[in-house]
């Protein structure tokens, strides 16, 4: 689908886990992504900021296979072309996604939510006869502990508070044990204490050799993460660097932080 010209581009010099180059997505003539290029290194945590409509969610859709780019390259983990794969295949390659609105399986217990997310054989035939192994039970205990949900394990996920659902979803991401986590507005609707705890949790995940991409509006939270920041605007990168450099960039101030 992509033109031959792009195939001739030499592979990236730095060994990045995720490599986007010249990605363009249009919806009815509106360019949601415009020649977007981005690289995420293994184990790196990156914060993505930008005004509404800057293309943050579309970027995640492209990476996770929900949206096909019109042009451009999306490579993952030593050159796997993500534009040819569907959501399930990409998830099984090791890319996990947390949605903006917390999406958990409300009629399952907290424990079952984690169980279903645990990395493993996803084929219907194997799943039909699957029994919870001691290793799986141990992983579930560990993740519930990390996400602070151990006391809630037998409750239905639908009965959790908003903040608990956010944490459960992050717990599900941990269970998937992905190489790359895409996290969309993880602290929306959280209290300050919860926000702080979430930042700590994400830092811990990143330290455990997972790459994390966080999309967030909350500048205090982004500052608390203390990582490299990319500011998107109209579908491409406006500025990239440390939070202080980016937040002092006059263009960023103009389009995003405040006129």
């Amino acid at each position: 689908m992509t033109s031959l010209v792009e195939a001739d581009v030499p592979p990236p010099l730095t060994p990045s886990l995720l490599y986007l180059d010249g990605v363009t997505v249009s919806f009815d003539g509106f360019r949601a992504l415009n020649e977007l290029s981005l690289q995420i290194a293994p184990g790196e945590m990156r914060a993505i900021i930008g005004p509404n409509g800057a293309g943050k969610t579309t970027m995640m859709d492209v990476i996770t296979g929900k949206t096909r780019p019109d042009t451009g390259e999306v490579l993952f983990d030593h050159g796997v072309d993500l534009t040819r794969l569907d959501e399930a295949a990409i998830a099984n390659l090791g890319i996990g996604r947390k949605f903006q609105k917390p999406t958990v399986f409300e009629s399952h217990t907290v424990e079952d939510n984690i169980l279903l997310a645990l990395k493993g054989d996803r084929r219907a035939r194997s799943v039909l006869t699957a029994r919870t192994t001691t290793e799986e039970a141990r992983r579930i205990d560990e993740i519930l502990e990390t996400a602070g949900l151990a006391a809630q394990r037998h409750r239905l996920a639908g009965l959790l508070s908003h903040g608990q659902k956010q944490w459960l979803e992050i717990g599900m991401l941990l269970a998937q044990d992905p190489k790359l986590l895409l996290v969309d507005e993880p602290v929306a609707g959280m209290t300050d204490a919860e926000t702080e705890a979430t930042a700590a949790l994400l830092r811990r995940i990143s330290a455990a050799d997972h790459s994390v991409v966080v999309v967030e509006h909350d500048m205090a939270f982004v500052r608390a993460l203390g990582v490299k920041v990319t500011c998107l605007h109209e579908g491409s990168v406006l500025a990239e660097g440390a939070i202080d450099t980016v937040s002092e960039n006059p263009r960023v101030i103009e389009v995003y932080l405040g006129r």
């Binding site: 996770t64 929900k66 569907d86 959501e87 399930a88 998830a91 099984n92 996990g96 996604r97 949605f99 999406t103 958990v104 399986f105 409300e106 009629s107 399952h108 079952d112 169980l115 279903l116 997310a117 996803r122 084929r123 219907a124 799943v127 039909l128 006869t129 699957a130 006391a151 809630q152 037998h154 409750r155 009965l159 508070s161 908003h162 903040g163 608990q164 599900m172 998937q176 209290t191 204490a193 919860e194």
Partner: protein, 383 residues
């Protein structure tokens, strides 16, 4: 042993199986062994009626499996039921042999009447019971597999899927109405004589067919229960509640949907096959879209996503239908059905069994709930 493990935490299921298996024994005895003068005697007509209810219960169970647990609202499940019925009907037609009106040893009467000279190729093999019984499952199963594969792979969901399932059964109805399809057209298949060498009309055969229907319902329940209690069952519920989330966890939603749709269609086919010898006829009206919609009402009334409730709903609604369509109440059946649907939607959104379970939980909380922490918000997470 597997059964015991399955039913360990399924109180409703234990009751359900006890009742169904009890019926499988008691009803035939009351029909065959109790003299006709006794008040406990079950007449041939009642026996046939009860057998029909059990077949409908299995059909409702099969729909509940896809609708209640995977959110696939099929408005065409009657098609799978009818196809199973036709496969059985073809076997029964071939058993008539030269006892038909035209006394042709090979061709069924309607083919002789249409001046056909030889049996169409798709009727081959149906003289053998094993082949016919295999087809009872294979034909609906294969259709559901192919249909499901294309529909689910193209991500047709919700009301669009419901509409094309409706179109499927309607198209099949039109096809089966045509004489040159070779399935008896308008009149369908009837005048059956023998099944497995026993006369269809004999009391003992009828009693055996009733018992077979009850056993099929019990077995269908166990299969459905095993599926929904497995990890795959949990994935199905996840698909029902948050399909794209399930996809992003790496599950191939289309494979799961196709699997459960196929299993469900096979169950519906078996229900149809048991139905036909008990009512003595199968014709294209079984494909009527309205029939399939009625099945949805049974499930909604009994309790969607409860399995046993679906079966209960089928029996209750059909019992009401029998009561209302005979005697002086006859003109009011459609009003009663409409009222029933309104009542269930407003006061019993979880159906009869769902309501019953809610009341039971409130009256007597299970030990698991007693020990679990009360649903109070954690102090540090207060909004």
């Amino acid at each position: 042993m597997i059964t015991r493990a399955l039913l360990a935490d399924d109180r409703t299921g234990r009751w359900f199986l006890a009742i169904v298996l009890g019926l499988a024994v008691i009803v035939p005895i009351l029909h065959l062994a109790v003299p006709e003068t006794s008040a406990f005697h079950i007449s041939t007509a009642t026996l046939a009626l009860l057998g029909k209810y059990l077949c409908f219960a299995l059909l409702a169970l099969s729909l509940d499996l896809v609708w209640g647990y995977c959110g696939i609202l099929s408005l065409g499940h009657g098609a799978f039921f009818a196809l199973g019925g036709y496969a059985m009907g073809m076997y029964l037609m071939r058993q008539i042999g030269s006892r038909g009106v035209y006394a042709n040893p090979i061709l069924p009467d309607f083919m002789v009447f249409l001046n056909w000279k030889e049996l169409p190729w798709y009727w081959y093999g149906f003289e053998n019971a094993w082949f016919a019984f295999l087809m009872v499952m294979a034909v609906p199963g294969l259709l559901a597999f192919v249909f499901g594969w294309f529909a689910f792979r193209s991500r047709v969901t919700g009301v669009y899927l419901s509409i094309i399932t409706q179109a499927l059964t309607y198209a099949l109805m039109l096809a089966f109405f045509r004489n040159d399809m070779g399935f008896g057209g308008n009149n369908g298949l009837t005048d059956f004589k023998d099944i497995l060498g026993f006369p269809v009309q004999a009391n003992a055969t009828r009693a055996a067919l009733f018992a077979a229907s009850a056993l099929a319902l019990a077995l269908g329940y166990l299969v459905a229960r095993a599926i929904v209690a497995s990890r795959l069952g949990k994935v199905l519920v996840s698909i029902r509640d948050a399909e794209s989330r399930t996809r992003f966890l790496g599950y191939r939603v289309e494979h799961y949907k196709t699997f459960i749709f196929t299993v469900s269609a096979i169950m519906a086919g078996i229900a149809g096959a048991l139905y036909v010898p008990q009512v003595g006829i199968i014709n294209p009206s079984e494909f009527l879209p309205a029939n399939s919609i009625e099945v949805v009402i049974w499930v909604a009334v009994g309790g969607r996503g409860t399995l046993a409730g679906a079966a209960l709903g089928a029996v209750l609604v059909n019992f009401a239908k029998t009561t209302f369509t005979t005697g002086f109440l006859a003109p009011y059946w459609l009003f009663a059905l409409g009222a029933l649907f309104v009542v269930v939607t407003i006061w019993l959104p979880k159906g009869i069994l769902g309501k019953f379970n809610d009341l039971w939980e409130r009256w007597r909380p299970s030990p698991a709930e007693k020990s679990a922490p009360k649903p109070e918000p954690m102090p540090q997470l207060a909004e």
